[in-house]
Point group: C2
DNA sequence: AACAAAAATATCACATTATGAAAATTTAGA
DNA sequence: TCTAAATTTTCATAATGTGATATTTTTGTT
């Protein structure tokens, strides 16, 4: 582990510990943590205890394992954009879920990916979908992601495309750049995106971008359903609602036309 | 700024930067950040850039200010207890909000306080309440907090009481320890807690604890409403629902009787 | 536009600080 | 109870982070 110039070794290592712990739902023993982060056990001990002193981690008294506390949740929930979006969008999304009787997602763009900020589900309609608040996904294979890509400058799209891999999740996943460009053209002309089982087999969704005061596509919303329910008629019925909601939220973010 | 023995200066400072940024919705310039954290500007620059390299912060291109990214949200959302509780409790809480037509909260105990994990609101019922997901509150002045305190060992209650201050939020706030002990007795015998404008004037709520497999009160749920709506009859009507839901969730956490 | 002032970023010699080997202690297993 | 493993503490040492200074960039003013 060589520290990049301008970086700080102890912080690199501590963030590595933080991330390792966040991926371990059951917690980790000190030795496991040291092994997973490739640190000397003495160093791992010191660093995880610094996190503990600051309330970010603790040694679970019953299991003896280290795990993260809600301090990280607290800090993460305070990120300003989460605030802005959720406070203005939540009621609209709940209503959209209620009238469509399908799962509705709100995601925000973050760097080259999207992060799920909110999921509104209708009662009883339990669809197996592995989306959840806090999840990060790439843009190229999701409806929400593509709806955002379609409104980004071509240079940005290219940069994003070139700096990441494009795993195939299904036969429908778009992995060719010129195919993606055509798809983004379609999305621009239609005003919405369709994810036709490109990420999760069996799930189809329609998505629309949310734009801020500067017109930048900072977020997106979607309605997801099993392909059996999300057929042509369903899409025709749901699209006006989806677009209406996305426009409303965009307006609340300061976007005008 | 003297580093406590066993601690690591650069991490102390970086976490201080993280926390400062999380409290600044509009972001902070480098000099403001340095001033707020009492760091040399050169040091602040180096440390915030380490956070940026790891994707936790960024320098907003439009404003030139540093702010947190969704990386912190992503890490925070992965805390295992959030997972466990949310996945089992969410549908129940949504239903409770729907049948009661009032705001429902789920909180988890974290150290000496509670953190809001979920808020379910009925349509249209917009009550001014400054609760939100991620918020941390003390236990002594909230219904959820008191319902948890009531099931903790007396030693733990005493320890929590003695290590924190007890600001008065309203004439009803309980700030005397023996008063609190009587109140916790009442809560134990009734099986639920009432927050009668002890934290937010004008808001009354009923709360019940959620217990895990070991019987420990790890979380709590509540129904909140303006005092005008949350009168004796309303409480009589809502209590069975609240208790039923808390028992259901406790069962899903592995608690039996 | 040109200038001045302020803010942000990069450099680097140095002393402070984090490091990890080793010892001491605690916990778990036989 | 004893043994082995895991955790925690200690401490000498060198590597690492620090902050003064220099450079560059940005911002505001005439």
């Amino acid at each position: 582990m060589s520290t990049a110039p301008g970086s700080v070794q102890s912080i690199d290592r501590t963030l590595s510990i933080l991330e390792t712990l966040s991926a371990a739902p059951l917690g980790l023993s000190l030795s496991d943590l040291a092994a997973a982060t490739d640190l000397h056990i003495s160093t791992a001990h010191r660093l995880v205890n610094v996190l503990a002193e600051h309330g970010y981690a603790l040694k679970d008294p019953s299991s003896g394992k280290y795990r993260l506390t809600l301090r990280t949740f607290e800090i993460g929930s305070r990120v300003s954009s989460v605030w802005n979006l959720l406070s203005s969008a939540k009621p609209q999304l709940d209503e959209l879920a209620a009238v469509s009787q399908e799962a509705v997602h709100l995601v925000e763009r973050d760097g080259h990916g999207i992060v799920y900020l909110y999921k509104a589900e209708p009662f009883q309609q339990l669809v197996r979908m592995d989306s959840h608040v806090g999840l990060r996904n790439p843009m190229y294979c999701t409806g929400v992601g593509k709806s955002i890509l379609a409104l980004l400058p071509p240079k940005a799209v290219k940069e994003i495309w070139e700096t990441e891999a494009h795993p195939v999740f299904s036969p429908h996943t778009i992995v060719d750049f010129s195919d993606m460009q055509k798809e983004l053209d379609r999305i621009r002309s239609r005003g919405y995106a369709i994810d036709d089982e490109e990420h999760e087999p069996g799930v189809r969704c329609i998505a629309a971008a949310i734009r801020n005061w500067a017109g930048a596509p900072v977020a997106a919303i979607s309605i997801s359903a099993p392909v059996s329910r999300m057929d042509a008629q369903a899409m025709e019925r749901l699209l006006p609602r989806l677009l209406e909601t996305s426009v409303q939220i965009s307006r609340m973010m300061g976007f005008s036309d």
